[in-house]
Amino acid sequence: MHNTLNRFQSVFGFFTTVAFVLGCFIAATDLYAERAPTGTLKVQNLQVVKGRPHYYSSVQEEYAIIKFSLDADLSQLFTWNTKQVFVYVTAEWPAAKGGVNATNEAVIWDSIITNPSADHLKNIGPATMKKLKKSAKGKTVAPDRGILSLRNQRPKYQITHPSRKIADTENVKLKLHYNVQPWFGLLTWNQNQDIGFWKAIKGGVSAPFSLPSIKKKN
């Protein structure tokens, strides 16, 4: 018994070592895959409304609804080690009027884009799942999913500020971000400068704008 178990342990130990080293090699190939994402963000429609954080709350808050359009090419982020790309658009603005540093940041829209190899893990209904799987039949890597074209997109999240006031905020910018989540290895985000084969996003920031005053009820 001592022998068999000992051998099994050795084989298992060897297996884990090999699997780990192989995984590291696969993760390292990411560094050699070129990334040159581009994006154009435009604000389409701005609105600030009053509302409550949830149904049973008596607190009134101001919410900014920022409609935008986005054209982005993130196709190079999809490689064989990509499980999903998490794309998100943030709005950022300085704390004080006339401030320079954008110290407030909030996600207004996001999307999980899976590689076909991870489609089955997505939390969607059966019909949508069927459609999604069909869209990349026979492929394990689908760079075309990284090409986004949104027109007059409603934000997923209506943003506010802890002070509950957000109307008339100046110098707001929208910014495109992504997070590549691998099958094995390091998580990577969009970077501010070029690193090796990975370039910073070209564009990806909207022109600064100001939020309007609260819409008056007629």
Partner: protein, 226 residues
């Protein structure tokens, strides 16, 4: 809620990996040298047959027994040192965590291993980072993404949300707490290995497995002949 488990369970995992790897490298020649197989095999057969006898003889050989016990202690303590070393380097009380639930799916599933980093060398913890945080008075660490940040530095107000959840985490926070601050966070996720953490999930859900495993490991350490 994507909860995670850390610390000791992962320690068990490391211990086992370390132990098995150590065995695979410590006696490579015996396994790979074809000339040695014949005689060695028969000798091993013999020792298997006589294993109870050897155990008894070991009791009579305290020097060897002490060496085996020390050997076992060495394995355990080096695993513990690795864990604590990693903890110091990453400045996180629990640098490797296991995902227990699915609110970050499809990226992180149950049983996946996450590596955390808790130092702000280049920049503040910012929006988009996936962080593990502890809520006041609750003992379950949660891994979610930061979606809002107001202010700068230690006092910045952070709001988190699971990628797979429809709404943000305000309801998970303590009563009266609307935002997290930096010190609630015990690390940002930087690395990912799938499936490996399932071992620790099994161990924590079936506690008797721990006893069995420690027992088997102890038996190995004692019976092993160097």
């Amino acid at each position: 809620m994507a909860t995670v488990a850390g610390s000791l369970d992962t320690l068990y995992c490391i211990t086992t990996c370390f132990n098995s790897r150590r065995n695979s490298t410590s006696q490579p020649r015996r396994h790979w040298d074809p000339c040695a197989i014949g005689p060695l095999y028969s000798r091993h057969l013999q020792s298997a047959r006589l294993s109870t006898a050897t155990m008894l003889s070991m009791l009579q050989n305290p020097r060897q027994a002490a060496a085996q016990v020390l050997n076992f202690a060495l394995i355990l303590s080096s695993a513990f040192m690795m864990w604590k070393g990693l903890s110091v380097i990453s400045d996180s009380p629990s640098p490797i965590v296991v995902v227990l639930s699915g609110s970050m799916e499809p990226a992180f599933q149950r049983g996946d291993l996450l590596f955390l980093w808790n130092r702000n060398l280049l920049q503040d913890t910012s929006v988009g980072e996936v962080v593990v945080y502890n809520v006041k008075d609750k003992d379950i660490p949660i891994v979610h993404r930061v979606v809002r940040k107001y202010g700068e530095g230690e006092d910045a107000k952070l709001l988190t949300k699971g990628d797979n959840n429809p709404s943000d985490d305000t309801e998970l926070y303590a009563r009266g707490q609307d935002y997290l601050v930096r010190k609630d966070i015990i690390g940002s996720v930087v690395g990912y290995i799938p499936f490996v953490g399932y071992v620790t999930i099994l161990l924590s859900e079936h506690p008797w497995l721990k006893t069995v495993m420690l027992g088997v490991m102890g038996l190995f350490a004692i019976l092993q002949r160097e």
